[in-house]
Structures are given as structure tokens and as C-alpha cells.
């Protein structure tokens, strides 16, 4: 599975005006529910993971990767991306504040791995991060991301 299959176009939203970590989790869950990719209970599970395990989901400066377990209600492997108008503190010791939040749903522990490796590569690419951070509009952001993904192949 490639990243362009994992990312759900309509679940990419730019510069949302969200005020708390929980709002970010709820919104990204909502986008994946609307796409038919997860059940609503998955959203609650993502919240529980952050509550129980702490803010380690902030995997890099400004970047959060939210997820729960396959059996928490994932219908198909999926990825949402929210960029924030105002960066928010998630409570991480060095990577706060967060302005990019990915929400991953995986149906098993294997199928998404190559896409995840691809994502990790992109997230270490400053040019790609600049595109994510500078797109002011969801449609533009969606276009730009898929342009990059298709041109890299």
C-alpha cells in the first residue's frame, strides 16, 4: 500500500481553527468517519491512547501522529491530516507546539507499513513540510500533497 492510497483526500483539511488537543482528535476522527473509514468509537480510542500513554504521539517538532488499535473500529486503512491555524501545545517535552496532526487507522499491523515508511520519509523533507504548513486552503493543500506523491513515483 502506498501513501496516496492511505491518505483520504477529503480528510485533508487546512488551517482549522481548533483550540485543544481533544478538538484536534475529534475533528480528525470526524473526517475519517465521514469518509466511512472508521467507526466513531475509534475517535474515543485515539483520545484514550493519548491520555494513557502521554504526548509521545508528537513524533517530531510540530507533528502529531494519532492512532489507536485495529480492533478499535477501523473499517479500512486510512490517514487524515489536519493543519492548524494556531499551533497547540500537546504537552510534549520538546516537540510542542503542534500544527500538523495526522490520524492513522490501520486494519492490521502490517498492511500500512510501506505507506508509513513513505510518510516518515516525507516528514523528514523540509520542502514537503513547507507545502503542508503554507497551504491556506484545504483544496490547495489536497492538490499539492497528491501532486508531490504522484511525482515522486
Amino acid at each position: 500500500m502506498h501513501l496516496d492510497q492511505l491518505l483520504i483526500r477529503k480528510a485533508i483539511q487546512a488551517k482549522l481553527d481548533l483550540r485543544t488537543r481533544d478538538e484536534v482528535i475529534e475533528k480528525s476522527g470526524e473526517l475519517l468517519v465521514a469518509a466511512g473509514a472508521i467507526e466513531p468509537r475509534y475517535t474515543a480510542a485515539m483520545k484514550r491512547v493519548v491520555d494513557e500513554l502521554g504526548p509521545y504521539c508528537v513524533i517530531a517538532p510540530g507533528i502529531a501522529l494519532l492512532h489507536a488499535r485495529p480492533d478499535d473500529g477501523v473499517k479500512r486503512t486510512c490517514l487524515a491530516l489536519i493543519t492548524l491555524k494556531t499551533p497547540l501545545a500537546f504537552g510534549h517535552s520538546s516537540n510542542d507546539p503542534v500544527d500538523l496532526a495526522f490520524a492513522l487507522g490501520a486494519t492490521d499491523k502490517q498492511s500500512h507499513i510501506s505507506a508509513l515508511a513513505e510518510l516518515a520519509g516525507f516528514l523528514s523533507d523540509d520542502k514537503f513540510l513547507r507545502i503542508l504548513r503554507e497551504s491556506e486552503d484545504s483544496a490547495v493543500l489536497q492538490e499539492s500533497i497528491f501532486d508531490v506523491l504522484h511525482n515522486r513515483k
Binding site: I59, Q110, L116, L119
Partner: protein, 91 residues
């Protein structure tokens, strides 16, 4: 040598770490068995090196292994420097 990569679920962050570390080991011609784990299942298992996100440190205090904490989990340079220095220390 056994390297365990940890995250809360065992297939997101820890998998990403495993993929990066396997690349690094290959490039350096080093051999190790790298396995991703979720924190809960890992407890009680043996590893020479445990690699985890920095904010998981409170869960790993007193764990009998060399603990490597990573701040930026997509920064290959940080991961490389820390993992190679841990391997060097143990060999």
C-alpha cells in the same frame, strides 16, 4: 544483538523507528534483530537496546537495557547518532 523499538501500539511509531534503524544497520554493515513492540506487551521481554520516543521515558525507568530516547522520530540523523553510539557502548 536485540533491539526493541517501542510505542504505545506497536505498529505506528515503533514500526517507523524499526524501518529507520534497519536502514541504518544495513548501511553500517551491522547485524541486529529489530522488533517493534507496544509498551504493554514488551514489559518482561529482554532486549539489549530499547529505542523509544523521549516522552516514554517515565515508563522505562529501571528497565534492564540500554535505553535510547528519540526526540524527533523522523530525524534520521538523530536516530543514527544515538543508535550507533549505543551499539558502540555495548560492543
Amino acid at each position: 544483538m536485540v533491539i526493541a523499538t517501542l510505542c504505545g501500539m506497536g505498529f505506528g511509531t515503533s514500526m517507523m523507528l524499526k524501518l529507520f534503524i534497519d536502514d541504518i544497520l544495513k548501511a553500517e554493515n551491522l547485524k541486529a534483530e529489530t522488533t517493534p513492540w507496544d509498551l504493554g506487551s514488551f514489559k518482561g521481554n529482554r532486549a539489549d537496546i530499547v529505542v523509544a520516543p523521549v516522552d516514554m521515558e517515565p515508563h522505562l525507568r529501571d528497565y534492564p537495557a540500554k535505553i535510547v530516547l528519540i526526540k524527533n522520530l523522523v530525524d534520521k540523523q538523530e536516530i543514527k547518532e544515538k543508535i550507533l553510539s549505543a551499539i558502540k557502548e555495548l560492543s
